[in-house]
Symmetry: C2
Subunit: 288 residues, 2 copies
């Protein structure tokens, strides 16, 4: 799985390098390249892997794979802004507003969101136009004020709320903030192959929540040098997290149980889903 | 034309009111409603009017009309941020980051961009899926780092440039910053009706430039109370504008000549294009 992940990450990077040449050499174009470099590429990998599962041509799947990575990169650039999480470090490198300035970071994020929709509707991506339109519509819903942005807004509101969130509230928050894009990525292959979205939806909902629980675990157990970004921020801010609500052992047990549920959801695919099941196990073993 | 513009503006507003109920009552949803209220609706009107020209059903055209207005509204919310133009007033009202805060303004803009793509790919919009995919792809290109955002970045760079821009540079800048969305809006009807984009492209390129020249004229001749936002900022900052480069009379003459060219481009449509020709004349007569 790790070989597949790194091979796919290299293909995604090469595709970004090609696509971004059209954007010139100005500060925004540079920032777009910078912000889309590195990272684990889990969302792009989910697109490519679920496309394989549905016998979709890999070269075509690369377009929505880069699309979801562009969308994810935009969300990180804006999330790191001083008015938002105010982070100086991302993937071990200065964040975009630190390396350039805030105005450039706003524009880089904005341009990356547009790029995401350009990539998922590109005619060299999904062969059928109805599928390209569907990829864009579903991505818009996953990214916007009923999906990721709603989760981010709930997260910000939680910081100043008089009482910490409950487990139910934090689950809703995370279903938007990280879950919506992961579900989009994991169902993209089924969309491209005009297959049933249900098994991959179940898989990705459990995976997305496990992913976020592990993020909370890493925030407590990791160190900044290994993780590549600031850690311990949530605990220091007194924010409710899965760890504060369930305890460290409880959070880890919940993540394991979600990973089991994610793997079970793929039983209809048989051996073909081995890699996606390994990915689910990787999600809770990772330390960054 | 003015009656048509205000009737269409009312239809656009009513459609936003309906669409936005799905987003709940949180700060981001409130901000989305606030930021999409008011304005001249010229871009939405262009979609509806060019759809009429191509015999496209008006109820369907309302979806991309609101889409381009959502995109435009997002660009204003982000443009007004302290790190960007730092404006407190927009359409005579406090800007989103003044009424709420910067984090909310970033998220409201982000959610409005997603909403734009949701609206242009909505199945109740363009009937054919290939046209919906094409509307999204062309909008992504017009909005992103090769279109509007590129123009905004050039505009910011111009503020700190050692020498003022030339007429050619400022024309390139404006072709991105305001021209790209106006051209998308004015060709949307032809896209929806699967017609020739060329006459409306020529019309909108001349119209967009005339629009921007008139904006520069208003920045010099208008007062903040009438215009609804700060004026005289460009001149005070020593920025090159069409007025500083051509003089007030020269800028007005250039705008008139562009409006003539815009009207000529529509001759193939005969009387059916009367309203669009009136719109072009309105653009250079407006004082706000």
């Amino acid at each position: 799985m790790k070989t597949g992940l790194s091979q796919d990450a290299a293909r995604i990077q090469a595709h970004f390098d090609t696509v971004l040449t059209a954007f010139g050499t100005g500060a925004v174009a540079q920032g777009m390249g910078y912000a889309t470099r590195g990272g684990k590429r889990i969302r792009g990998f989910l697109v490519l892997e679920t496309a394989r599962l549905h016998d979709v041509d890999g070269a075509r799947a690369l377009w929505p794979a880069c699309g979801i990575e562009a969308l994810h990169a935009y969300s990180l650039v804006h999330d790191d802004l001083p008015a938002m999480d105010d982070d100086d470090l991302r993937r071990g490198q200065p964040t975009v507003h630190v390396k350039w300035d805030e105005a450039t970071a706003v524009l880089v994020g904005d341009a990356l969101q547009s790029l995401a929709f350009e990539l998922v509707t590109h005619p060299e991506g999904a062969e059928r136009a109805d599928i390209r339109a569907d990829l864009a519509l579903s991505l818009a819903r996953a990214a916007g004020g009923q999906g990721m942005v709603l989760g981010q807004a709930l997260d910000i509101a939680a910081e100043t709320a008089p009482i910490p969130l409950t487990l139910e509230e934090i689950t809703t928050l995370q279903a938007g903030k990280t879950g919506a894009l992961i579900t989009w990525a994991a169902t993209a292959g089924a969309r491209m192959g005009a297959g049933d979205l249900e098994p991959l939806t179940r898989y990705s909902k459990a995976l997305g929540l496990a992913f976020q629980i592990q993020d909370d675990v890493i925030d407590v157990t990791g160190d900044a040098a290994t993780v590549g970004k600031a850690v311990g921020k949530d605990a220091a801010a007194g924010k409710a997290t899965f760890v504060s609500l369930l305890g460290l052992d409880g959070a880890r047990a919940e993540a394991r149980s979600l990973v089991d549920a994610a793997c079970d959801a793929l039983s209809c695919y048989g051996d073909k889903a081995d890699t996606l099941q390994q990915l689910a196990r990787f999600v809770i073993s990772r330390q960054t």
